[in-house]
Assembly symmetry: C2
């Protein structure tokens, strides 16, 4: 049976988590295969964006280590503000342990309890098959296909998906 300390804990990010968040984001951003974020972005700009005032940012902790991080924000203002948007990142060292799944479930619960009526992912790179499969398993549908909208460093232009789930 799993011990309490081998379970994943998710809590709001703190100022002191910045270094750990950057350790997770940096290799993913530098590889440039899944996020529409400039590959050469500075740590300062990346952290400012990921933990900005327009969103709530969380960290996922496993055995005392920060192994994942996600944010939740309003996707569109005004008449679009009942739809939320999230971004997730899992440490390359902690893949395959259900970290992204737990973070997404956490975000869906937070979104519901915050009164959001839907969650939208604006730009899921289609070659990120693990993510696409996971989001589908968690109730998201592909509602849009953006043809060739992402320049993958290894493959070239690939589609990006718009995924959506009513809450």
């Amino acid at each position: 049976m799993a011990q309490p300390n081998s379970e994943l804990t998710i809590r709001p990010a703190r100022e002191s988590d910045t270094g750990a968040i950057w350790e997770i984001l940096e290799p993913i951003i530098r590889a440039g295969e899944v996020f529409a974020i400039p590959r050469e972005i500075s740590q300062e700009d990346a952290i400012a964006s990921w933990t900005g005032n327009d969103r709530k940012t969380f960290v996922a902790i496993f055995e005392g280590q920060i192994v994942g991080t996600y944010y939740l924000r309003t996707n569109q203002a005004g008449g679009g503000s009942h739809v939320t948007n999230c971004g997730y990142a899992t440490s390359t060292k902690a893949r395959g342990r259900g970290v992204a799944r737990q973070m997404c479930l956490h975000s869906l619960e937070l979104a519901r309890s915050s009164g959001f009526k839907a969650m939208q992912f604006n730009f899921v790179v289609s070659t990120n098959e693990v993510a696409v499969r996971l989001w589908k398993a968690l109730g998201f549908e592909v509602v849009g296909i953006l043809p060739g909208a992402f320049a993958h460093p290894g493959i070239g232009y690939v589609d990006a998906l718009v995924m959506f789930q009513k809450l």
Copy 2:
């Protein structure tokens, strides 16, 4: 035959155009039927966004009056930066004169000459039928439908469309 001064001129927006741009935007934003912008936004915030450093903003002039404005920006950063995004607004006093069509054609030409490979509209309110028809006539396809993603003040939740055109 049309006189030169009865044709539409489109040029980059200047600091001194701010008042005229706000005169166009204010009634559209306050009505809240087509833009995902807070209805109660201040003039300062609206102008800061519409003419921000992340975009190029233009005005359309007819018979000496600013009758329309649009912006062009990069839609997504990093691997998504070959796709541009625009927003257009026509004065309520100048509807039906092809102002939006001329602005869109101008933006498509600018996008091509700037090296963008596609143009994407992220959030076209489906009940904005004049716009949807015009964008289709100008080559855009609906590549995504966001179910109930816009709270229309008169109708309730309506779909928003993702429209896309390769350049």
